[in-house]
């Protein structure tokens, strides 16, 4: 796994916002790697920069207020930061796909379900047959080596072009009509476990429930078979029961499709279930990164440890509930040195003077290949914290 080129490699990415009163850094010096077929989760509190990070990777942030100050975003070998804006659409869709948080807002309210998914399918057809240019010509197959495919996911392995028939198919694909797309759209709707998808084809988003909208959003993204899927808190805005359903769906899809996913969430429990690797962000910085099991078992950053400790795990009356003292700093008034030091129980004088160290590799506890890194001066002593 590690030997092959990673799907995404973010190197020292910094994103700055220009607001009327000044500028502030929403993301500071973040580096992470998503190998093929891994699910990388990013957790953090509200305002820690994880959504900014998620949207900065495909350069979705509006450039006037937000600027990528420095760093690289290397997607399949191409540095997206250097790609001119006019060429960015070539990367998105079939290269990077994204699902959003708010089901109300993420589907276009003016178009029917069929039209929205058909548009995605159409884009992919045109890219793969060369009608439209793309950075990633040809289908980028997922790696299905983990287990044999169940039938519903067959749609993802259908070759679009029979080998040797490219020209004729190009012509045919360009003249594909609604009826031709219908079968594929229905297939994708079944992939996201919607029963009787024919009934919802002609509905508008406002006529559907939140969970249904989210599934459609997932179907839309998957129908373009992206090499990397970014999920920006896809279940945060749903009711808990619906959240569980969509989460189950995502886990099954991850297993079936073996996609590379960047999963953003503020919910540690959700991430624990879905992710292979986990990154913890605080005030714009990535403070810890490593395999999920290892981080949960032996966190190496005080913030992570406090976070894990503050999850109510059982229904017993552990009163008072453990919390992290203080509050998240204002991003335009960050503390000097380590950004977490005012709230840290391990804080020493050096933490307020020196800028926080870069992520250092820790000795692994579990046997996973992903290195466990932590950005703390006293990472080894974190294990001794209560």
């Amino acid at each position: 796994m590690i030997g092959t080129r990673p799907v995404l490699s973010v190197e020292n990415l910094s994103v700055e916002y220009e607001v009327g009163a000044g500028r502030f850094q929403a993301v500071s010096d973040v580096s992470l790697v998503i190998p093929r077929g891994r699910v990388v989760g990013i957790v953090g509190e509200t305002g820690c920069g994880k959504s900014t990070l998620a949207q900065a990777i495909p350069r979705l942030l509006p450039e006037p207020p937000a600027h990528i100050r420095s760093g690289k975003v290397i997607f399949q070998g191409t540095d997206l930061v250097k790609v001119p804006r006019s060429k960015l659409p070539l990367v998105r869709g079939t290269g990077i796909g994204m699902i959003f948080q708010e089901p109300l807002n993420s589907l276009n309210p003016a178009f029917r379900v069929f039209d929205q998914i058909a548009e995605s399918v159409q884009m992919r057809h045109w890219r793969e047959t060369g009608v439209l240019p793309s950075f990633h010509p040809g289908p980028t197959p997922f790696d299905y080596s983990r287990r044999p495919m169940p039938e519903t996911a067959d749609v993802l392995t259908h070759p679009i072009i029979p080998p040797g028939a490219k020209d004729e198919v190009t012509r045919r694909v360009s003249t594909m009509t609604r009826a031709d797309y219908r079968k594929e759209v229905l297939d994708y709707l079944r992939l996201v476990r919607i029963n009787d998808p024919e009934t919802i084809l002609n509905l508008f988003p406002h006529e559907l429930s939140g969970g249904m909208r989210q599934r459609i959003m997932i179907a839309m993204a998957l129908s373009q078979k992206p090499a990397l899927l970014i999920a920006d808190e896809p279940t945060s805005a749903l009711d808990v029961t619906i959240q569980a359903q969509v989460l189950t769906l995502m886990k099954e899809l991850i297993d079936e499709v073996h996609a590379s996913i960047l999963y953003i969430s503020h919910d540690l429990g959700v991430v624990a279930e879905t992710a292979d690797d986990l990154g913890v962000m605080y005030a714009g910085r990535l403070v810890e990164f490593g395999p999920v099991a290892e981080i949960f078992e032996s966190p190496r950053h005080p913030y992570t440890k406090s976070l894990l400790r503050s999850i109510p795990t059982r229904y017993k009356s552990d009163w008072p509930m453990p919390t992290i003292p203080g509050s998240v700093p204002n991003l335009s008034q960050l503390p000097r040195g380590c950004r977490f030091h005012p709230r840290c129980s391990l804080a020493k004088p050096i933490c307020s003077r020196e800028p926080p160290p870069p992520l250092r590799v820790m000795a692994p506890v579990t046997g996973d290949e992903t290195p466990h890194k932590s950005a703390c001066h006293y990472a080894e002593e974190v294990a001794n914290l209560p």
């Binding site: 009327g20 009163a21 509200t46 959504s51 900014t52 207020p65 948080q101 807002n105 204002n330 335009s332």
Partner: protein, 355 residues
């Protein structure tokens, strides 16, 4: 005097003035064009005051005065712009610059007067129609009557109705004023009513009611404060629009006669556009036209800048259904309804709260 709970009136006024000037600077900073508009508006107001109080400071000659009598030989007719006559003179020797300046108070006064009266009348009716509109009650019936009447008035293009009124009651300043006033107030009824309806059901108003706050206080504190925003925007914009409409009515011949005791830009243009060899004497109509244009542009720039800052509220009032007066359907799908504000928004809010 200041009591422990309520700060004194003076203090509150100062706070309000401070907050409003901060808001004003926000508007001006937001948009360089609105700053230009603000400067121009200030200029027009200052000039108006000067012309009214101490005209000889800026106006060398009297209204429609034949300046030729002062010259040797005693004929200065249709001279192009020069140092002595910055806008030139017309075929009767009148200094166009003086006439343009002397017309400023009248035109601007009419603009502000009509816009202001419309705000008062329309605003009052809109408040009534918005607040007491429960169907089946006396208030509801009043509200319906008000809205239907407003609809009828709004059905006429303003110029047509104004011209019809002037044709019926004769020409002159007051006739034109009345005519335009009659067509202008209905817009504010819809504006204010829309805003009142939108605010009436906001959670914090309901909470205030539940806490026992009286209706009158709710009206003044909560509703009015929200209603003021679109009113300010459209009041400013309307000063320019009324000016343009008034000059059009004068142009059609329904306003104040020119030459006469009081010049007025529109009637000046009406008089000159029939002048002999107009294309040779281009300065006749150019300067009154420029005066109208620059003044209207000034208020439009300022108003548009204000509208940028206060936009969601002005939109709400404008986008009601014109036939059924229903507000547009539920707002969430057209508004950001994210449960988690992005870092950018939080930072913007924080910096704004601090400033």
């Amino acid at each position: 005097m200041a009591s422990p709970q309520r700060p004194s009136v003076v203090r509150r006024f100062l706070q309000l003035a401070w907050r409003n000037s901060v808001a004003l600077t926000r508007v001006l900073r937001a948009n360089p064009l609105s700053f230009v508009g603000f400067v121009l508006v200030a200029i027009t107001l200052i000039l108006t005051v000067i012309v009214v109080v101490h005209p000889s400071l800026v106006v060398p000659y009297g209204a429609s005065q034949n300046t030729g009598v002062y010259q040797e030989p005693p004929t200065i007719l249709h001279w192009p712009p020069s140092i002595a006559h910055p806008f030139g003179t017309d075929q009767g020797g009148r200094d166009i610059y003086s006439d343009v300046m002397l017309a400023l108070p009248l035109d601007l006064g009419i603009g502000i007067g009509i816009a202001g009266t419309s705000v008062l009348i329309g605003g009052f009716l809109g408040l009534v129609a918005g607040f007491w509109d429960k169907p089946g009650t006396a208030g509801g019936a009043t509200s319906t009557v008000i809205m239907r009447t407003t609809d009828v008035f709004l059905a006429f293009p303003s110029l047509i109705l104004a011209l019809a009124i002037v044709a019926s009651i004769g020409r002159g300043v007051w006739a034109a004023f009345l005519a335009i006033q009659t067509t202008w107030w209905p817009f504010y009824v819809r504006l204010v009513r829309g805003e009142v309806l939108a605010v009436k059901h906001l959670p914090y108003v309901t909470a205030a009611r539940a806490a026992g706050v009286g209706e009158g206080r709710i009206l003044t504190r909560h509703v009015l404060r929200n209603v003021m925003d679109p009113i300010i925007v459209y009041f400013t914009l309307d000063i320019g629009t009324v000016l343009v409409t008034f000059s059009t009515i004068s142009f059609v011949g329904a306003g104040i006669p020119f030459p006469g005791p009081v010049p007025e830009w529109g009637s000046m243009m009406s008089f000159y556009q029939g002048a002999y060899l107009l294309s040779q004497y281009w300065w006749y109509i150019t300067f009154p036209a420029l005066a109208i244009f620059m003044t209207a542009l000034a208020y439009s720039l300022l108003g548009d800048g204000l509208r940028d800052v206060l936009d969601p509220r002005t939109r709400r009032a404008l986008t009601q259904s014109v036939t059924t007066h229903e507000p547009p359907p539920e707002e969430p799908p057209l508004q950001a309804a994210t449960t988690e504000t992005s870092e950018e928004e939080e930072a913007v809010e924080e910096t704004e709260m601090r400033s």
